[in-house]
């Protein structure tokens, strides 16, 4: 069975929010839209987004790591949000594992959101139905688009390609390889939700310099030692 998912590489994410607005942009006019905004030009503007980029600080100055952390629905393999839905509006697709909401069935009871530990479902306050990341289902399955563009909007937009997309059940897919080779992990594994989305941790590159690398026979300073004029005698002048 196919399980589509995103793999997010925290090692390169710079927190630019490209994935945030390109998600909104694609989806507001798409299958899962519109994504309403409340007080768009007023006090405390808010609106429906499927993807948010957060920022955490790890450690204390000067050993601080600043971690940018994008988060959208993780398309759990055991999605706790689905069985609790009374209407069947929340469902997980058989063919590719994408978790979706059918707005026509949703009664806006919010119960599914209580059953998601990740805080990624958002009730659209205008339409009053539950919304969330669709993995851009209407884009990735749009056969009128060229293959290369059948990817989620956030993935295509991401300037650092911190967002990989593919089938985590296919051991040879780009995402599976990335997870395997870079210690990919899941969020809140303690709940047994088996998120399909994975995160790749920070990795550090260091350079080691050995003392002797600073002293070298071909040190250019040697060339600057003046030959200089000889003052006084040499042995050659005086020895017989």
């Amino acid at each position: 069975m196919t399980q589509l998912a995103l793999v997010i590489d925290l090692n390169v994410c710079v927190g630019c929010h490209a994935c945030v607005t390109s998600c909104k942009e694609w989806n507001t006019s798409g299958w899962a839209g519109p994504m309403a905004d409340e007080e768009p030009y007023g006090k405390d503007p808010s609106g429906t987004f499927f993807n948010r980029v957060q920022m955490y600080e790890v450690g204390e100055f000067p050993a601080t790591e600043t971690v940018h952390f994008p988060k959208s629905c993780l398309h759990c393999e055991e999605p706790p949000c689905v069985p609790v839905c009374p209407t069947g509006a929340s469902y997980k697709r058989e063919d590719n594992g994408v978790v979706l909401v059918d707005y026509d069935k949703c009664i806006g009871c919010k119960y599914c959101s209580w059953s998601c530990p990740y805080g990624v479902r958002e009730l659209d306050e205008y339409q009053k139905v539950m919304k969330k990341c669709t993995l851009c289902i209407d884009r990735i399955s749009d056969e009128t688009k060229p293959e290369a563009e059948r990817k989620p909007a956030c993935v295509l937009s991401c300037p650092t390609s911190a967002r990989l997309f593919g089938d985590v059940h296919d051991p040879d897919s780009e995402v599976s390889v990335a997870i395997r080779e870079n210690a990919g992990y899941q969020l809140m594994p303690e709940w047994g939700t088996k998120p399909a989305n994975h995160y790749l941790p920070r990795r550090k590159t260091r350079i080691q310099i050995f003392e002797d690398e600073l002293i070298r026979a071909d040190n250019p300073l040697k060339k600057e030692e003046a030959v200089g004029e000889i003052i006084g005698d040499t042995i050659d002048d005086v020895a017989m």
Partner: protein
């Protein structure tokens, strides 16, 4: 709901796709705009574009919300009779009337005193056109944002290596192994930088960031080196010291490609002290550095013409020429200079431990030396030597305003140039790479006018409004050595102010210093807000009246697309189009988007019709130029030369028959030529067909070592990029600087500085980089104001433009002052508390947020999130104005009076670069019971005629239904 997999998006409405170039920021990515039933469905990165290769950023993807923003201006507006300026009381007028007003006013000024018309433009991308217009008009008072942006970066590096970061060159991260980023938060190459950084990291490169703050790019660095603001010069010089004392420099590179070995006269008694010793020989005059200098040969132990085949010079030593002249190689002078700049010394200044400084130097030096890249690329240098490979050291740097926006920035950036030069990484694989039209001669050819006589009624300016002085005689001063320009650029106060000093234009015009002007035209510059220092006071100057009750700045024209803070101060407001509604060129004559592998320029082509009565400012310029009968816009017979802007772009040539125009692509009658060639009537079509971009890929052998690459330079000359195919040797030692110093010392004939400025010029025009405290730190009580206050660019916002954007403003609705918890605790305020930030020049009230990612002596905030109440079509109680704040209120545009003058700009004394980041502050908790709103507040601006109505509580965007819904 329908099954999404069987009902594609395109089934919903009539869909069309158009390519153009983004302008949500100055990065200029290629975008593909999809429309549904005429409304914008989706804006995505154009995968076929060389710059962004399909990616887009947060701003770019929010272009829809800019297009449909209620902040848009849609009608030309004239301040109402009797209404006070600044009160936002306007009446709608026709374009015809607007043009009549401008034609009459500007026509009269041109016929009498053209310098009374001043044109200043902000972060725009049409300086080639606006600059040309100003020159044709005949006013010297033209500049764009460069002076308050990053001119230190441009000047510091271009005067050293003939190219620069910013938009002119960058790090070759593809092949680099060690990358050091200094003082950069976002920069202009936004998307490419991100793409490259991630590839670099994934290839195992090591990324070090030097910044008082760790956010954005710095977040993913392998190492963060927190530094005290304004002290990078000390760090860089100490690193140079360590590199030289360890012998970790690229000797061969220094000898061949720089002036390191060239002999400098050392005799204080002589008038040519500190200049290179130049052999008597015939040298052609031109803007290049003639090679009539000497070095001291190691084998023969005699002075010899530089780069004599087979000769190898000393870099160190002290020599006496046959005529008794004492000389030293400039490298020796550098070494002498660096002697005092030890890592131990720098630790105390920068706050960076000695071991770290030394380790940084060792990492750079050893990687550069031991991990050389050799590409099997044949090339020939300017001296005729054939090379069968290109060699590079994989250490690269990038730096931006963290270095530039300080009053010691010029010398800091000189120090960085020297460091890069010592490592031998100039236009080499894995190092710094130029982008066409760079490298250019040191300094580049265009020169400012030479004196007041260059400004004559009804005559174009004699010289370029902006240029590159090579010695004091290139200054634009009158007989007393006083400025001719309103911003005092190219005067003795800021001799190398190659981008002007827009930040002082309003203050000077208000004061009438050096003279009064009549009409100030502002295009795309928010000078009543975030582009001015001392903002509250500048807003008063804009409405200040003289004793007769007339405005001190009599007439202000604002060309803007949105209801910005500045629009309120216009007498005449011209509504511009958005980037999706107009033709535009990102020209080789301005700041093209060239890649390392060759020139690239691009265009915009409208994808939607203009809203209301919006008119592209380009068209305004063409119309005005034609009405005023400026020569470039007029045929011999006085008739109008260009129908409109696209026509001008197609047919304009820098001079008749030059073959050089705004666009480099598809020139020649049938589009068969590149860069240079006759106008091509179908040029726009060809750009349109090619993703709106022209990319000329140089042959591999022309792609590196371009300062000395004979093939490249000859190609560049043939294609009109440079005038001389002469080598552009690197100025480790700057003779240009020394010439100004000699003038200040009274050792040079020609233009002389006014007495009050002699010491200043002598001090700062040092031919070698040196460290000095920022001017502000020298003049204010740093015990009283112990902290440095900075701004950073947020990645998801562009300057002040994006608060009108319903999506982006949800990400940054207001700003906080970010402080290290140590500071907060010491001052007795908590995370989230309201605090006062006070500088010697003003104070603001705002909210503080604790952060471990900031050096304890620094506080910072996001730039330009704070807004004036009611501007940008936001509700008067919007967070931007009530909780957001603008740091600019704390920054002074003028230094306190000193021996050097009363009204010196708070800018770098060499370049006039605005010293935004010098400001010193203290922070303390707001009193109990104080109002929880930011301070200062201004009377709310109100909606202007022609602004589309507010959208109420909900905005529900769905392309193809948005406007229908709204009207329903």
């Amino acid at each position: 709901m329908l099954d999404p997999t069987t009902h594609p998006d395109s089934a919903i409405g009539r869909v069309e796709t158009k390519n153009t170039t983004c302008y949500m920021c100055a990065c200029r990515c290629g975008i593909r705009v999809t429309l549904r039933d005429g409304e914008i469905r989706h804006i995505e990165g154009n995968p076929e574009h060389p710059l962004n290769k399909g990616v887009i950023c947060a701003k770019g993807a929010s272009g829809i919300m800019k297009q449909y923003s209620p902040a848009r201006l849609t009608k030309p507006l004239l301040r109402k009779e009797g209404a006070e300026r600044g009160s936002s009381e306007f009446e709608e007028i026709s374009w015809e009337r607007a043009f009549d007003i401008m034609e009459e006013r500007l026509g009269n000024l041109r016929a009498t005193d053209p310098k009374k018309f001043a044109l200043f433009t902000g972060r725009d991308q049409m300086q080639a056109l606006t600059g040309m217009f100003a020159k044709q008009y005949g006013t010297p008072n033209y500049a764009a944002h460069g002076g308050f942006c990053s001119v230190n970066m441009a000047a510091g590096m271009i005067y050293s290596i003939g190219g620069s970061f910013w938009e002119f060159g960058g790090p070759d991260l593809e092949r680099s192994k060690l990358f050091i980023m200094i003082g950069t938060a976002e920069d202009h190459h936004s998307n490419p930088m991100k793409m490259e950084l991630s590839k670099f990291k994934r290839h195992g490169g090591r990324f070090i960031t030097i910044n008082p703050v760790r956010t954005g790019y710095s977040a993913i660095a392998d190492e963060w080196v927190p530094i005290k603001p304004g002290t990078d010069g000390a760090l860089l010089l100490a690193i140079c010291n360590e590199l030289i004392s360890q012998g970790l420099f690229d000797r061969d590179f220094l000898v061949q490609y720089t002036n390191a070995a060239e002999l400098v006269i050392q005799d204080e008694a002589r008038d040519d002290d500190g200049l290179f010793y130049r052999a008597e020989m015939h040298v052609e005059e031109g803007c290049f550095d003639p090679e009539n200098k000497l070095w001291w040969d190691r084998e023969l132990d005699v002075a010899m013409s530089t780069r004599t085949p087979g000769s190898d010079p000393y870099l160190l030593g002290e020599f006496t020429l046959d005529d008794g002249t004492k000389v030293k190689p400039s490298f020796q002078l550098l070494k002498d200079r660096l002697a005092e700049y030890t890592p131990e010394w720098a630790e105390g200044i920068t706050g960076i431990p000695v071991e770290t400084i030394k380790r940084l130097a060792h990492e750079m030096g050893v990687v550069a030396r031991d991990q050389k890249i050799e590409l099997p690329i044949q090339w020939t240098d300017c001296w005729g030597n054939e090379h069968d490979k290109v060699v590079g050291s994989p250490v690269s740097f990038h730096a931006m305003r963290g270095l530039a926006a300080h009053s010691n920035g010029f010398h800091t950036i000189r120090a960085l140039s020297v460091l890069m030069t010592l490592l031998g990484t100039i236009d080499t694989p894995g190092g710094f790479r130029h982008k066409a039209p760079f490298p250019r001669p040191i300094p580049p050819c265009p020169k400012p006018p030479k004196g007041p006589e260059a400004v004559q009624p009804n005559t174009p300016l004699d010289g370029m409004p902006l240029g590159w002085p090579k010695d004091p005689d290139d200054l634009f001063v009158d007989g007393d050595g006083e400025p001719v320009r309103i911003d005092k650029a190219f005067s003795w106060e800021y001799p190398l102010s190659v981008h002007g000093l827009m930040q002082n234009a309003i203050t000077n015009a208000w004061r009438g210093d050096p003279y009064k002007i009549d009409t100030l035209m502002l295009f795309m510059a928010n000078m009543a807000w975030n582009s001015s220092m001392n903002t509250a006071k500048v807003r008063e100057m804009l409405v200040d009246k003289d004793e007769n009750g007339d405005y001190k700045i009599p007439f202000i024209i604002v060309a803007d697309a949105f209801q910005s803070e500045t629009v309120a101060f216009g007498d005449l407001v011209l509504p511009d189009t958005t980037y999706l509604e107009r033709h535009d060129t990102i020209s080789m004559l301005d700041r093209p988007i060239s890649e390392y592998d060759g020139p690239v320029d691009s265009v915009r082509i409208p994808v939607v019709p203009p809203k209301g009565d919006c008119k592209p400012f380009q068209e305004v310029i063409v119309e005005l130029g034609s009405r005023l009968k400026l020569p470039a816009f007029t045929n011999e017979d006085g008739s109008r030369k260009f129908r409109d802007y696209p026509d001008l772009i197609t047919n304009f040539e820098t001079s008749p028959g030059s073959g050089i125009g705004f666009l480099a692509g598809w020139r020649g009658k049938a589009g068969e030529k590149s860069l240079k060639g006759e106008p091509n009537p179908r040029q726009w079509e060809m750009y349109a067909k090619n993703n709106c971009v022209f990319h000329y890929e140089l042959p591999l052998s022309y792609q590196y070592m371009r300062n000395w690459n004979k093939g490249y330079l000859e190609w560049a000359r043939a294609h009109g990029l440079v005038r001389y195919a002469e080598p552009i040797n690197l100025h480790l030692y700057s003779e240009v600087m020394q010439k100004f110093r000699l003038a200040a010392q009274g050792k040079r004939p020609g233009k002389q500085p006014p007495e009050r400025l002699r010491n200043r010029v002598e001090q700062f025009f040092d031919p070698l980089p040196f460290y000095h405290e920022t001017l502000e730190a020298q003049q204010v009580d740093t015990q009283e104001y112990p902290l440095n206050a900075l701004t950073q660019r947020p990645m998801a916002m562009y300057h002040s433009w994006d608060s009108q954007n319903a999506w982006l403003r949800q990400i940054h609705t207001h700003n906080y002052l970010m402080v290290n918890p140590k500071l907060g605790r010491a001052q007795g305020f908590d995370d989230g508390d309201w605090v006062w930030v006070e500088s010697p020049w003003g104070k603001v009230r705002c909210m503080a947020r604790y952060s471990e990612s900031v050096e304890p002596g620094t506080v910072w905030t996001w730039n330009a999130i704070g807004k004036a109440s009611g501007a940008w079509a936001l509700d008067p109680d919007a967070n931007e104005s009530q909780k957001g704040f603008l740091l600019n209120h704390l920054i002074t545009e003028e230094l306190p009076p000193s021996e050097a003058g009363e009204h010196l700009s708070n800018s770098d004394p060499v370049t006039g670069q605005a010293a935004w980041f010098d400001v010193r502050v203290k922070v303390y908790k707001a009193e109990e019971g104080e109002p929880e709103v930011s301070f200062p507040q201004f009377k709310p601006q109100h909606t202007l005629p022609g602004q589309p109505g507010k959208r109420g509580k909900w905005q529900v965007y769905f392309a193809g239904m948005f406007n229908r819904k709204k009207s329903a």
